[in-house]
């Protein structure tokens, strides 16, 4: 029963497949998707205590993987809950949309458990291809006509980084003679100064950098965020990042901090990501593009935690990515609710949101302030702990640069808050009723953002035990 959560996801996908053969209505499909999502979440909760390995030791089920599966399951359920009847998705492929979404979740859950190169590759591709297909499934009701272009871009960039990754894996296999991560760690420890080893690790990392939207593998982000349906973007923005962080932790711990060069390269990627994302976000007018660039800068922060090569740093990265998922989902909940026809939202479309729906305005404001890193929300606590951990490693200049980024980022987050709160347009548009389900999800997300920010102790302990399982 070690495979229980994955099996439930697979079964759910099959149920969706069967449903897609008939002609069900969109609300029925959505209700079914929520039920399946809840079943998946329950399965991940039930699977928390599992421990063991499968498939000739290439698939490890431990505290680490199960915590990540729980996070993936919860984030997926939240996306399903607030996506409503998915107005941004073509009406005739709704069931297929959820089918691919669930397959994507399956791939991500398998990814966090994989400890062997081929298993990692299969899981990663399973999740990626499902998401490649979800992007062009966007309907034309929101007057968006470049969904196909976005899908192709996503696919081409993705395939290219996969190529990098496979090449890197072949090096790893060539150097160590094994495809098991545990064997590779032992073998690599003897050759940390070998340039080939470093090149191999960097290339393998590229695949996950792509998933996490990290500089210099970030090119797809703004276009795909803008071209995909709001619900799809919400999924892409939150769920794969959690799994990518899990894999980064596994791969980075291969190097274990012995390699100075690797640290400098990762540091460059991390700081570059922050500056690139924040500076580009300053001039955006489309809300999803802005959040896309902000995602690039936040990926830099996640990597910043991994750079410390210690259990504390990994735990903080886990904490940060969880908080990031919550803040991001809060913002996307607002986008999905405000864009009733699944159209793209300009920042200016938020004008007068506080009149249209006070709860949504509050959710957006707290989500954005948290993303900006203002206390007492989770974004601040996460950044603060990342900086403290990096400081302990003596990375003083990077800490100052990372801190400066907070000030740059504030401007564009404020511009959205300003629209939602400080404008009273003549014609504010009709009042929005988020509905009890979305309102409930919004309140839960706000509570998570505040509680994790004010009292991070409990979560950090869970994160620490999860990390202890892999080190």
């Amino acid at each position: 029963m070690l495979f229980l959560p994955e099996l439930i996801v697979l079964l759910s996908a099959l149920v969706m497949f069967l449903v897609s053969l008939g002609k069900p209505t969109a609300p029925t499909i959505h209700r079914l998707a929520v039920v399946l999502g809840a079943a998946v979440l329950l399965a991940t909760i039930a699977g928390l205590g599992l421990d063991g390995s499968l498939f000739y030791e290439s698939y490890r089920v431990d505290r680490f993987s199960q915590v990540f599966k729980l996070l993936i399951g919860s984030a997926t359920l939240i996306v399903l809950l607030f996506s409503g009847t998915a107005p941004g998705v073509k009406n005739d492929v709704q069931a297929e949309y959820y089918l691919f979404l669930l397959i994507g979740v399956l791939g991500l859950m398998m990814l966090v458990s994989s400890v062997e190169l081929l298993a990692i590759f299969v899981a990663l591709e399973l999740s990626s291809f499902a998401v490649y297909i979800m992007v062009p499934m966007r309907s034309r009701s929101g007057n968006v006509v470049f969904q196909m272009e976005s899908g192709i871009k996503y696919l081409l960039f993705g395939v290219m980084t996969t190529g990098f990754m496979l090449f890197g894996m072949s090096y790893l296999f060539g150097l160590t003679g094994s495809t098991y991560l545990t064997d590779i760690i032992d073998a690599l420890a003897l050759m940390t100064s070998e340039p080939a080893a470093m090149v191999a690790i960097m290339m393998v990392l590229a695949g996950f950098f792509y998933k996490l939207a990290l500089f210099p593998f970030h090119f797809w982000v703004p276009d795909i965020y803008e071209g995909a349906a709001n619900e799809t973007t919400a999924f892409i923005a939150a769920v794969p990042k959690i799994a990518a962080t899990a894999m980064l932790i596994r791969i980075v711990s291969l190097a274990a901090g012995d390699s100075e060069n690797l640290v400098s390269i990762l540091l460059f990627c991390s700081i570059g990501s922050m500056f690139y994302g924040n500076l580009c976000a300053l001039v955006q007018t489309d809300l999803k593009r802005m959040l896309g660039y902000s995602a690039i800068s936040h990926a830099g922060f996640v990597l910043f935690g991994l750079l410390t090569f210690g259990a504390d740093g990994y735990a903080t990265s886990l904490y940060y990515v969880t908080g990031y998922a919550a803040m991001n989902l809060a913002c996307f909940l607002v986008i999905c609710t405000v864009a009733t026809n699944g159209e793209n939202l300009a920042i200016a479309d938020l004008a007068g949101l506080h009149q249209r729906s006070p709860l949504l305005a509050l959710t957006l404001a707290i989500g954005l302030f948290a993303l900006a890193g203002i206390p007492p929300f989770v974004g601040f606590t996460g950044k603060f702990m990342l900086l403290v951990n990096a400081f302990k490693q003596g990375l003083i200049i990077p800490v100052i640069l990372a801190a400066l980024n907070t000030a740059i980022a504030l401007f564009y987050y404020l511009s959205a808050v300003r629209m939602a709160y400080c404008t009273d347009p003549e014609k504010a548009g009709q009042t929005l009723q988020p509905g009890p389900l979305r309102a409930g999800v919004a309140v839960v997300l706000l509570l998570i953002i505040i509680a994790m920010g004010v009292a991070p102790g409990g979560f950090l302990q869970i994160a620490a035990t999860a990390i202890a399982a892999v080190l």
């Binding site: 206390p375 900086l387 400081f391 404020l414 950090l460």
Partner: protein, 507 residues
């Protein structure tokens, strides 16, 4: 932890911090503007009364932190919830708690839309402000210091004047950019002190001199922007002019004091060597602020701008007093912080009252209202006199002590500061003359009504403190005396130690 006297009984400081927050939560389900106003008035008044218990129980004979409480908060980074007050912070805590009910009163009819949101912002502000003054854990301090930007941003951005967007974003960005490096300095200090964020433990350590200078610069940037010191003051006139009355009062009376409080609490004790090194520059920057604020205020036609620039000048006196590093200077500076809070807060209330009637902040449109508002202009006259330090009012005591300290330190510096005091009289009397009498071309003011009872109740306590501190400042100075003496003793001991270390190094 011997600097912290734990309070075994009722957790008074926590009550002061969390009561307004609880009040804000209480407001959430309320409907009706009237109910929101009454509940916030009740909560702020209760906090004000509780703060008097603090005064009653305060031990004047010790420099330690009193009413201390400490609880573990984030164990993984050894962050604690530690609070306490000493002679430097108690006056500021009291002032904050006592001014807030009047901010609610001043917004009674001024704020007409989204009353509930406004009151929630005010109450959250109060939690953060009291917390900043009593926090003894650097992370707690920083969290509250930054968190208060959100409600203040909303207060300016939602209920502000025509250029509110510009003003609120400038305020937020300026303050945040300033405090970013403070965060880095905090983490550095944490690492130096065996991974502890406990502020008293960070004081009077011997850090390296380069590090001290860098930490001082980080402190200076954060606090000088908050004060605001010349040339970091440009956010202040914008924010003051656009903010609603209560926002201006909170900004002037309490927020600005956090900068100077930061200098006293952190810069002096944590990096004393750098303080000695930087002292002359900061002193002359203060003089520049005094003169610049005075001249700019003299040229203003907008009453709020005039008072905003006068704040730059007055806060220049405060930083001057602090960095003299002698007893008169620092005690005068703390007293002047309170004085500025009382008088400038009251002046902003007065301008708000004119604005509610004429809907203009222009000096020319308020010209000559003395004929129709005799009670109002009496109040205004007292506050203006206090603002430029007329003998018998509180401003005189504060400025006199600071100037006396300056003369003790350096005559040239004192002579440079004197024109500031004269300028203050010039711009204040100019404003007073215009408002009371005006000229031959006064607009028709006959329809204006004088103050109502709520407004008199709002202003009267301010007048009481203007005269009380002006005529009998001894009890106020007695509150802070022991803490200031201890601070100076430690500073001198540290200086002597450094000098002897240096002379030992010399051949």
């Amino acid at each position: 932890m011997d600097q912290l006297l734990l309070n075994p009984g009722f957790p008074l400081l926590s009550a002061l911090i969390f009561l307004p927050l609880a009040g804000a939560l209480l407001l959430l389900p309320l409907r009706g503007d009237g109910a929101c106003r009454s509940v916030s008035l009740a909560v702020t008044a209760l906090v004000g009364l509780l703060s008097l218990l603090l005064l009653a129980g305060f031990d004047r004979s010790t420099a330690a932190f009193q009413f201390g409480e400490t609880h573990p908060w984030i164990a993984a980074l050894s962050i604690n919830y530690t609070v306490g007050v000493d002679g430097i912070s108690i006056l500021l805590v009291l002032m904050t708690a006592l001014i807030m009910p009047f901010c609610v009163l001043a917004s009674w009819s001024y704020i007409k839309v989204r009353v509930k949101t406004f009151m929630i912002c005010l109450l959250v502000m109060e939690t953060a402000m009291i917390g900043v003054f009593v926090a003894l854990d650097f992370v707690l301090f920083y969290v509250l210091w930054e968190a208060m930007l959100i409600p203040m941003y909303l207060i300016i951005g939602i209920w502000g004047g025509p250029r509110k967007i510009y003003a609120s974003i400038k305020f937020f960005l300026y303050t945040l950019a300033g405090s970013i490096l403070l965060l880095v300095a905090i983490i550095w200090l944490y690492r130096q002190n065996g991974y502890s964020f406990y502020i008293p433990d960070m004081m009077w350590q011997s850090y390296g001199s380069t590090a001290q200078i860098l930490v001082f610069l980080a402190f200076f940037l954060a606090f000088a922007i908050k004060v605001p010191m010349f040339p970091f003051h440009t956010w202040l006139p914008a924010a003051h002019v656009e903010a609603p009355t209560a926002g201006s009062v909170i900004l002037a009376s309490i927020l600005l004091k956090m900068g100077t409080y930061g200098f006293l609490r952190f810069a002096l004790p944590i990096v004393p060597d750098a303080t000695f090194l930087m002292m002359p520059y900061v002193l002359w920057l203060s003089i520049a602020g005094i003169i610049y604020g005075g001249f700019t205020a003299l040229a203003q036609q907008d009453m709020k701008k005039l008072i905003a620039y006068s704040s730059v000048g007055h806060m220049g006196f405060v930083t001057l007093g602090i960095f003299l590093l002698n007893k008169q200077g620092i005690e005068g500076a703390i007293l002047q912080m309170v004085n500025h809070g009382v008088t400038t807060g009251a002046l902003f209330l007065c301008v708000g009252m004119i604005y509610e009637r004429t809907h203009s902040r222009e000096l020319s449109s308020a010209a000559g209202i003395g004929t129709y508002m005799p009670v109002f202009v009496t109040f205004l006259a007292f506050f203006s006199l206090a603002s430029f330090g007329f003998p018998g009012t509180n401003g005189f005591i504060g400025e006199f002590m600071i100037l006396a300290g300056t003369f003790q330190y350096d005559i040239v510096l004192a002579l440079a500061a004197i024109p500031g005091a004269v300028l203050a009289a010039a711009y204040m009397l100019r404003m007073l003359q215009k408002i009371i009498w005006g000229g031959t071309d006064n607009p028709d003011q006959s329809w204006i009504s004088d103050l109502n009872r709520r407004e008199i109740v709002t202003l009267a306590p301010f007048l009481l403190f203007v005269l009380w501190i002006g005529l009998g400042p001894a009890p106020f100075i007695a509150l802070m005396d022991e803490s200031v003496s201890a601070l100076l003793t430690n500073l001198q001991a540290h200086q002597a130690e450094t000098l002897s270390a240096v002379s030992w190094l010399r051949p």
